[in-house]
Amino acid sequence: MADVRLNIAGRTYDLTCADGEEPQLQKLAGLIDEKVRAIPGSTEVRQLLFAALMLADEAQEAKAKVDRSEPQSDSLRAAVALAESRETQARDELAAARREIEALKAAPPPAVAAAPRTTHDRALLQIADRIEALAAKVEQSA
């Protein structure tokens, strides 16, 4: 434990606090002393009362400000989460596209000879059959 001496409104207060907390207590005592000195010409108790009221008011105001900013923080957090999700999705899509490109590069070129016959090819073959049959008939009749 540590001993600390605070000066508030011209009076000295000797306190005991946890080790290392002395600077923080000194700082808080300074804030109270500053408020007290802003309220001159009254009894010490009333000065301390007003200082406490002013500090409570400031604390309430600060809390209200934090409460007001929370929804905005939630929106920002949601926006960040959405952006992160989209980034992940974009990375996945990019990786998939890269894999597809690599697969296409690795795949052998399509065999032209193995391509299925088109309708026109089949029609040409059928016409060839029919004209040959026609030629045979003409030759027989000649």
């Binding site: 090819d121 059928q126 016409i127 004209i131 003409v138 030759e139």
Partner: protein, 66 residues
Amino acid sequence: MELDLDESSLAIGRIERALSRIEKSLAERAERGASVQPTSDQSALKAEVNAVIGELDRLIAEANRG
């Protein structure tokens, strides 16, 4: 028009040779003085020629359309 060149070239070669055979037969018949055929055979032959020409026209039109 996407063609298998080997197949289509083969088919066109067959068509050209068959047409030459028809042309040659008709020329020989004309030289001999056009012997008269039975009417039913002539009609069947004409119908077959018309069908083949129709099929060729359809194929050419399809090829032009791409």
